[in-house]
Amino acid sequence: MNCEAASRLLDLYLYGELPWEQEQVLEEHLANCDACRRQLEQVRALHDLIQHSQPDLPDTVLFDCRRHLHERLQAAAPPQRSWWVTVLRPAWGLRIAAAAALLVLGFFGGRWTASRPAPPIPQPSPDTLSARIRFIEQEPGGLVRIGIEERHQRTLRGRLDEEPIQRWLLAAAREAADPGLRLDSLDLLRARAQHEPVRRALLDAVQRDPNPGVRLKALEALKPFAAHPEVRETLAQILRSDENPGVRIQAIDLLIEQQRREDLVGLLQEIVQRESNDYVRLRCRQALQELNASVGTF
């Protein structure tokens, strides 16, 4: 293999898309050709550059898309059933016969049990339109059991300072599966961050929420309380341990705003030593300069 042929294969080699034999021949060539090895490194660098050049969309765009799609799906007709589902379903005649049998059973069963007290059966209501039947079982004595899964949606309306509304928002901030809902809850709750349960929820979100966008939102809400000892302690903790550099930098910004150097300089010096992310390290150095402190420890 000559250098020109090797050069043409480098991208596919890095993608792991060369056939085994071709890969072997290329690797033999690379082992003996400095120039091609350097070129391989350049191609690798280009791949990395392209990879990191495309900014991701903020999560809020994704959440908006989901919300909009959810609304459109609610409005859309149910999807057509798959042909195999249709084929596997019992034939109409059989289904009508089964329904008639159930009616007969129900009629005689009802007569037999007429004298026995029975709990009232809820009447079908508009709610049951959205109900889904989960099972139908026959019981001895001509009774029929129908399992219905119902979905009830309720709307609550109230002011932010009303206790039930706040309780729901706190629950959503902690437990909603959708990060968009957690984000919305925190956004509303930040106006009440002077209250202990809300501040506690914000601190929890900063430390435990799996979504960095939500953690950033909680940090933003904690900004007016950055001088609070517990908040500072939490900020120091996430500066040491949060996996997201954006969150760590936000923590630095909140910490230095308070201008309390005594406990901050040591922390920033520690982070400069151990931090792997260039931006975070740079921000720590800048912060130390702003505090007129040296970067290293002596």
Binding site: C3, Y15, Q39, E41, L62, L69, L73, P78, P210
Partner: protein
């Protein structure tokens, strides 16, 4: 709190991930929750594909909606033993290509009018206004990103799509072939052409950055 499942996170030997296959069957039986679970398992990648291909937040959002609504309407035609992600990406890819074609037609129709190419989306500015932003580094990154974006724009829509799926979504050429409706070999040729064009257009970026660029080097 349970993190969202990633597509293919529990992929079996058959290539069909277990939760996805279960949700597909439930959705085909008419369970709307199952379909929304499918959406959440795959939608991040679909939105990213649309955003990278179109570079417009508004169009990316439209592609997202169109893709999942088409999937919802045509779910009955999906064979449960095939790969849902491949099927979904095929829909998303077709919608993206439609948008690129429409955009080209619009551009040709308004030939001579000022182009909006290179116009900076508000989002670009928002992304760059992150707390870690350092002005000098930001400017350099922005120049490099613009160069790369311009080079990607020079690819044909098909080359762009194949490159996108391989480079940013890490898909194998076999799967990419299934998505774009071509053989694995044709997808490979397409990827080869795309990478050669990008190397030619962006060679100076890595030669400037590479520490050993003084001599004895081949041209990219």
């Amino acid at each position: 709190m349970t993190p969202e499942p990633e597509p293919g996170s529990a992929t079996e030997a058959s290539g069909v991930s277990r939760p996805l296959a279960d949700w597909v069957r439930a959705a085909q039986r008419g369970d709307p929750d199952a379909f929304e679970r499918l959406v959440r398992a795959c939608d991040r990648g679909v939105l990213r594909l649309a955003w990278n291909m179109l570079r417009s937040v508004e169009e990316a959002q439209e592609v997202y909606q169109e893709t999942f609504l088409r999937a919802y309407r045509n779910l009955h035609s999906f064979r449960a033993d095939s790969d849902f992600q491949t099927w979904l990406y095929r829909i998303a890819s077709n919608v993206c290509l439609d948008y690129l074609r429409k955009r080209k037609t619009r551009r040709e129709a308004t030939l001579g009018a000022p182009s909006d190419d290179g116009a900076r989306q508000p989002l670009d500015l928002a992304v760059e206004a992150r707390p870690e932003a350092d002005p000098q580094r930001l400017l350099l990154n922005r120049m490099i990103a613009d160069r790369i974006r311009h080079a990607l724009d020079q690819l044909t829509p098909r080359e762009r799509l194949v490159f996108e799926l391989r480079h940013f979504h890490g898909m194998r050429l076999k799967q990419i072939g299934q998505i774009v409706g071509a053989s694995e070999e044709a997808a490979k040729t397409c990827l080869f052409r795309a990478t050669q064009k990008l190397r030619a257009a962006l060679a100076d970026l890595v030669q400037q950055r590479s520490p050993g660029s003084a001599g004895g080097q081949h041209e990219l």
